[in-house]
């Protein structure tokens, strides 16, 4: 049985850069036997490119599923333009459809529809990367602001014998979330870019060694390594919130206290 499963390893120019070419019929065999499946997935993890030909629409979806199951921490993206790609687009974490000659089915079932394959670059490396960074910040910022807000109230409890007396004035208490959540983050989401998109969009004059999203692939790493939203970052923000709350509360409280007594 094992001999029937043939993996052609085509050697690239560099030794490290190999590709697996596999046919649909072999994939059926691979899927049936757990050992071979594991072996295949391990091999696929070591190469840059896997090319599967002669696969049916259903198999395309199965392959996506297989990878999702084997590598749960990885994110999958399917991109396609035909009706044959619909099932795999639906199956992947992110589905991208290209609307064009082969009809609208792929674009209609996808999360994102683009006009041409090349726009995937802008979608991933500019919008995707920046959306990831800003969303991560939004989440930690939300924790930060609510923590800051509630913990000061808690400190006040020690001085009000936990009577439940509010520290803040009513209207301020209500408006805090609206103003602090919506306004700054809206500004941030619209105007914050870590780098420029490419040379054409850069303000004149450009710096000599500026990084551009569509020129430097290394900028995408933050998403792959999940650098913007990890436990470490989260704890960092919580610690910051704790420190700031202490500062705010005691600075204000003792200033006012002294005023009262004098």
């Amino acid at each position: 049985m094992k001999t029937e499963v043939e993996l052609n390893l085509t050697q690239g120019q560099l030794k490290r850069k190999q590709a697996i070419v596999v046919a649909g019929a072999s994939l059926v065999q691979i899927d049936e036997h757990e050992e071979i499946r594991e072996c295949f997935l391990q091999a696929s993890d070591n190469v840059d490119v896997v090319l599967a030909c002669r696969v049916s629409p259903k198999q395309k979806a199965d392959i996506v599923n297989l990878i999702k199951k084997r590598f749960p921490s990885k994110t999958t993206l399917s991109i396609g333009d035909g009706a044959n790609d619909v099932s795999m687009i639906l199956q992947a974490h992110v589905g991208v459809g290209i609307s064009g000659k082969e009809g609208q089915q792929a674009a209609r079932s996808a999360d994102y529809a683009i006009g041409q394959f090349k726009y995937l670059k802008t979608l991933l490396f500019f919008h995707g990367r920046e959306a990831y960074r800003r969303n991560s910040l939004l989440i930690v910022y939300n924790f930060y602001k609510n923590f800051l807000y509630v913990v000061t109230q808690f400190y006040f409890g020690f001085y009000s014998t936990f009577s439940g007396q509010p520290l803040y004035e009513q209207n301020m208490y209500q408006l805090y979330n609206i103003t602090m959540t919506s306004l700054p983050i809206m500004w941030f989401a619209v105007f914050d870019f870590e780098h420029e998109r490419d040379e054409q969009r850069a303000p004149q004059p450009t710096q000599p060694h500026a990084l551009y999203f569509l020129r430097a692939p290394s900028l995408y790493r933050i998403g792959l390594n999940n650098e913007c939203f990890s436990y470490f970052i989260f704890i960092q923000w919580i610690t910051k919130a704790l420190a700031h709350s202490l500062l705010i509360f005691f600075a204000v409280f003792f200033c006012l206290c002294q005023n009262e007594t004098s």
Binding site: Q11, G12, Q13, K17, N84, K121, F125, L224
Partner: protein, 138 residues
């Protein structure tokens, strides 16, 4: 008349048609086209009697109306009629890659994204497209 990938159609051809010179010649030509990166299809036909068709159509209607496993049932019924076909020829379509595909893929690889290409094409066509898309080098 029906069209499909060469392996799929070949299975459904009549014995006679599969033995013919035409089949071999078509196979040769299609392989040549596939190596050039063209997308190939086989065309086949079958002449049906009115009676045979009516009988089959009844089954097909039933399958289409079934509440459970409809797709499976329809596929089964289709299998019944798509047999003993006569090969009539092949097509080869040039499907050029869009602009900047190779560039985009290179960039994705450089960024550390793993690329899987899943295609229904023949292996020769797929390899050819892989080469022009900058996925394979050789």
């Amino acid at each position: 008349m029906c069209k499909g990938a060469d392996t799929v159609i070949s299975e459904r051809l009549s014995h006679q048609s599969r033995e013919s010179d035409m089949f071999q010649k078509t196979e040769e030509i299609v392989n040549k086209y596939a190596e050039e990166g063209l997308r190939t299809l086989y065309l086949a036909e079958k002449i049906l009697d009115e009676q045979v068709y009516q009988q089959w159509n009844q089954k097909a209607q039933q399958a289409k109306l079934s509440m459970q496993n409809r797709e499976e049932m329809v596929a089964q019924v289709d299998e019944l009629i798509e047999t003993e076909l006569e090969l009539i020829g092949s097509t080869a379509i040039e499907d050029r890659l869009q602009d900047e595909v190779a560039d985009t893929i290179q960039f994705m690889k450089a960024a550390g994204i793993k690329v899987w290409v899943l295609t229904g094409d023949k292996i020769e066509t797929a390899m050819n497209i892989g080469l022009s898309a900058g996925l394979l080098d050789q």
